[in-house]
């Protein structure tokens, strides 16, 4: 089954990825692929290795063994700062913004990373196009009234939205989201899920989530990990009816 999907339709692929922390194996020999244009969720109970797989895919660190292939090229070990230029953006599990800068400057800095990284002379205030683009992205993620507030003063849910706006700055073909609704209120969660659905209509999205129910309604595909191993993949219906997955999740309590 896996060999069929390993064709040209592959957009991102992890091949035999193993990750060890000291003597502890957090991921063992995981091979999964992510087709272009789909919204895929990586799920599994706590400690399943989702975060580790996310970090390997997004280039936070290279795996102990195995490869990551993106658009046919091996990107294993590529430095983190090159990912945005490859069209891969991510949001972190723990909110990660520039706290003492305004929301708009947060996004503008993310936009600037694509064009002028080492310009030490021209005034920043002259970069009107970037400022406008930043404003548009903020509007898009629902931060219309907060352009000039310090990121540190935004509510938790707003900071997460800001992070998504920053990730969108490089107009990514691949968007990686690590538990995008972590710590959000039910209302904020609904808004975020709508936003993710909207973003997924234009690009490939991979998200990590440990609450299975949350993603069932919005994603095309699910990949289930358990104890660092690949357990199952398929459509939401496949996964819902998969006995092994049910056992794993029921054993964990209800999610």
């Amino acid at each position: 089954m896996n060999s069929i999907s390993a064709s040209a339709s592959d957009f991102l692929r992890a091949e035999h990825v193993t990750m060890r922390y000291g003597g502890f194996t957090a991921l063992s020999d995981v091979s999964v692929s992510f087709p272009k244009g789909q919204l895929t969720a990586i799920i599994g109970p706590n400690g399943a290795g989702k975060g580790t797989l996310f970090n390997v895919l997004s280039g936070a660190f290279p795996p102990s063994e195995g490869k990551v292939i993106y658009e046919g090229a091996d990107i294993t070990g590529t430095p983190q700062h090159k990912f945005a230029r490859l069209g891969i953006a991510k949001s972190f599990q723990i909110t990660n913004v520039f706290p003492q800068l305004s929301a708009q400057e947060n996004v503008r800095i993310a936009i600037q990373a694509l064009s002028c990284r080492y310009d030490i002379w021209s005034p920043r205030s002259g970069l009107k196009a970037m400022q406008e683009q930043a404003a548009q992205l903020l509007d898009m993620v629902g931060l219309t009234d907060h352009h000039h507030r310090l990121a540190a003063n935004l509510a938790h849910g707003e900071q997460r939205s800001l992070e998504i706006a920053m990730a969108l700055a490089c107009d990514p073909r691949l968007l990686l989201l690590d538990e995008p609704t972590a710590g959000m209120s039910p209302e904020e969660t609904v808004v975020m899920m709508d936003l993710i659905t909207q973003l997924a209509s234009e690009r490939t999205v991979i998200l990590v989530e440990h609450k299975m129910k949350l993603v069932m309604g919005i994603c095309n595909r699910l990949i289930v990990l358990h104890h660092g191993e690949f357990l199952a993949e398929g459509t939401p219906d496949d996964i819902r009816n998969n006995d092994e997955v049910r056992r794993v999740y029921l054993g964990q309590g209800n999610h």
């Binding site: 800095i109 310009d119 005034p123 490089c170």
Partner: protein, 331 residues
């Protein structure tokens, strides 16, 4: 009771005027610094102190780019100041270079020192970076100390004199304190202008981004290590200019120009004045040198008193003098 509101009301009015003034200074930072410095010699007890404040203010300003704006603590900036001094001094004493060439050479030598030290240190982070830069700066100290044929060793390099300066239009003598002050002032003014441009540039935004969140900056697509290195070098150039000017100011290059005391002074001045503020390093340099000046008149234990003052500031005014004023105004 009824008098109190009236009083506070009056205080608020004058307070507001004062805060408007501070805001104006913060907005037009280059002009404010220059305006202040151009009348400076007339309000200082003597002009040599004014020149010192100018030079050490520039030194602290350059240091603050790495410390205050990028959020990285270096304990090796004496190396850039000292190499700026020796570069200029050696060019004049051993090669009889004209002063503009000598100053330029001092700045370049400091820049090269920063390139090498930066390349070796930039991989380490936090307190390790501070320790590595300290160790590397000590290596520079001993290297120069040993090269006594060139550097004068323990006695320092003497005879760095440029007397008459003839610019065609005007000519003046650096033995005249006022002429010397404005000679130094011209260089510092140019440096302050360039410094402000860099901070206001897109690159300046990257420095802030790295200070705020290194991981995020990396994920945005910035090569954090390369940016840090470039900043370290730019900062070294400014500190090198301060050193070059100091060589001319003193007519000698004391070996203490490379001593780690000086690296510590940069930290103290930036903290006293307010790290991450434009005006702060100059305010800090002024406070530091004035305190030193006043306290040495009273007691030989001036370092103790300076230390206590410094600790009071770090504990109760962590934003520093200028930083606290800015904070008070923006409330």
């Amino acid at each position: 009771m009824s008098e109190i509101p009236m009083n506070t009301g009056e205080m608020q009015v004058s307070g507001r005027r004062l805060s408007d003034l501070v805001k104006l200074v913060a907005r037009h930072r280059v002009i404010a610094v220059l305006a202040f410095m151009s009348v400076f010699p007339f309000i200082m007890p003597y002009e040599a102190l004014a020149v010192n404040i100018l030079i050490y203010g520039l030194f602290a300003l350059g240091f603050n780019m790495v410390f205050g704006y990028m959020g990285v603590l270096s304990f090796g900036h004496a190396a850039f100041f000292g190499m700026g001094s020796y570069g200029t001094g050696i060019a004049i004493v051993h090669f009889g270079a004209p002063w503009p060439v000598a100053i330029g050479l001092g700045v370049v030598v400091a820049g090269i020192t920063a390139m090498i030290m930066g390349a070796m240190a930039i991989r380490s982070r936090g307190i390790y970076f501070a320790m590595v830069t300290l160790a590397l700066a000590q290596c520079v100290y001993y290297l120069i100390y040993q090269m006594s044929d060139w550097s004068g060793g323990e006695d320092g390099l003497t005879g760095v004199t440029i007397g008459e300066i003839d610019l065609g239009v005007v000519s003046f003598n650096l033995l005249d304190p006022t002429a010397k002050y404005y000679f130094m002032f011209t260089f510092v003014a140019l440096a302050v202008f360039i410094f402000s441009r860099i901070l206001a540039s897109p690159f300046g935004a990257v420095l802030e981004a790295i200070r705020e969140n290194e991981n995020r900056a990396r994920a945005c697509g910035y090569n954090v290590q390369l940016t840090k290195w470039i900043t370290f070098v730019i900062s070294g150039l400014f500190c090198g200019l301060a050193g070059a000017l100091n060589a001319i100011h003193l007519s000698v290059v004391p070996i203490e120009s490379l001593h780690y005391h000086l690296s510590g002074q940069a930290v103290m001045m930036a903290l006293l004045g307010g790290m991450g503020t434009f005006f702060g390093p100059f305010v800090g340099a002024m406070a530091f040198l004035l305190l030193e000046d006043v306290i040495t008149l009273i007691t030989i234990h001036w370092q103790l008193f300076l230390g206590i003052t410094f600790m009071i500031f770090v504990l109760f005014f962590p934003k520093g003098i200028w930083g606290s004023i800015l904070h008070w105004v923006s409330r």
